[in-house]
Symmetry: C2
Subunit: 200 residues, 2 copies
DNA sequence: GTCTATAACCGGATAGAC
DNA sequence: GTCTATCCGGTTATAGAC
């Protein structure tokens, strides 16, 4: 592992946990087992290092969303793919949602730029809904509300992990992990039933 | 309005927007129209001032949750009351969810302490579910998942406001506000349908 | 109680030896 | 490339006049 990778790994860990202002270059250096000066040698400034970490994380997420829309033949497919991808991503990058959400309140412009750059095919998604509603296989629902409902139920449990774990599971780490594992098999039927898909 | 109240109002505004580390005592002083020294005269330190704001916000939220459980005769009641209260709270304190979530990652202990102190009656809620499942009026669902689903769909749209507004509504503030207004009439039927309540 | 001025500290950034 | 030592700006906190 090169020093640069070492630094990036350390920065990811610290930034993600404490955000931009909450993090200290010293802490990142300690975590990487090197000294502060070297951080500046590799990445001119704290800001630059942070941006690198940030963009890197966000760019892992978006292609999944895109793919789940493009692969889908109907809204039912979409619900399945989308939730599956998102939960998969969360498993690999559990820090990402909180990180993005935190930084978006500091400065939305960067994030919005990245997302817009991706150009998500919402029109295709809308036509999937229209088609299924017309066919009577689902109840009418507004695209925006459906999207927000799904994303909420997938992301919120990780964002609010400390509260959920403490309040619902008596701070038992294993119970919380089990809960997360169950989400896929709970959320998908929940959504499908909610939009009126016949389940068996 | 006393100076102390002036400071608290200013601190609320600044802390809530920028978090503990992101906020500057100078900015709070300016916002309150006084000088830095006075902040320390009233509240010994930044940390103390922050804690005051924090606890105050959280304590407004919890009684609502409690009430919605106690008032309910069945799970259907609960879904209605709970969502209604939460959305009401959000209208008054749109900053609170993000604030709480942000701070919980800095130091969960304080928050958990406050929540535990409240002693939420989850057992009563569980028995409401059991009763309705036994009566065949809803499909079986695990309490924890139901709670998380509901809270997610209510809180996430406000927490993620900057993304949602930008990505789904082309940064149109009014469209986003309308969307929030619609949430109540969307989320309640969504949940009820999802748990198998007959809707007409 | 409220102010101005300043102390004390901290953290990002740089210089320069190796 | 990596280190130690240091600078410098900014922020919290305090002293002391009014």
């Amino acid at each position: 592992m090169t020093t640069e990778e070492l630094i990036l790994a350390a920065a990811r860990k610290v930034f993600v946990q404490k955000g931009m202002e909450g993090s200290r270059m010293q802490e990142i250096a300690d975590e990487a087992g090197i000294n502060k000066a070297l951080l500046h040698y590799y990445f001119r400034s704290k800001e630059k290092l942070f941006e690198q970490i940030f963009a890197e994380g966000l760019k892992q997420l978006l292609p999944k969303v895109q793919l789940s829309i493009e692969k889908s033949e109907g809204i039912c497919d979409f619900v399945n793919f989308f939730i599956e991808y998102y939960l998969e991503m969360i498993k690999e990058l559990p820090y990402l949602p909180h990180f993005v959400l935190h930084e978006i309140h500091r400065d939305p412009s960067k994030i919005v730029e990245i997302i817009k750059g991706q150009g998500l095919p919402f029109t295709r998604l809308q036509s999937l809904i229209d088609k299924d509603v017309a066919a009577g296989s689902i109840k009418p629902i507004q695209l925006e509300h459906l999207m927000v409902n799904i994303v909420s139920m997938v992301l919120f449990p990780v964002i609010a992990k400390p509260i959920i774990q403490a309040v619902l599971f008596g701070n038992n780490e294993i119970k919380y992990a089990t809960f997360l594992e169950e989400r896929k098999s709970v959320v998908i039927p929940f959504v499908l039933q909610a939009i009126g898909v016949k389940t068996n």
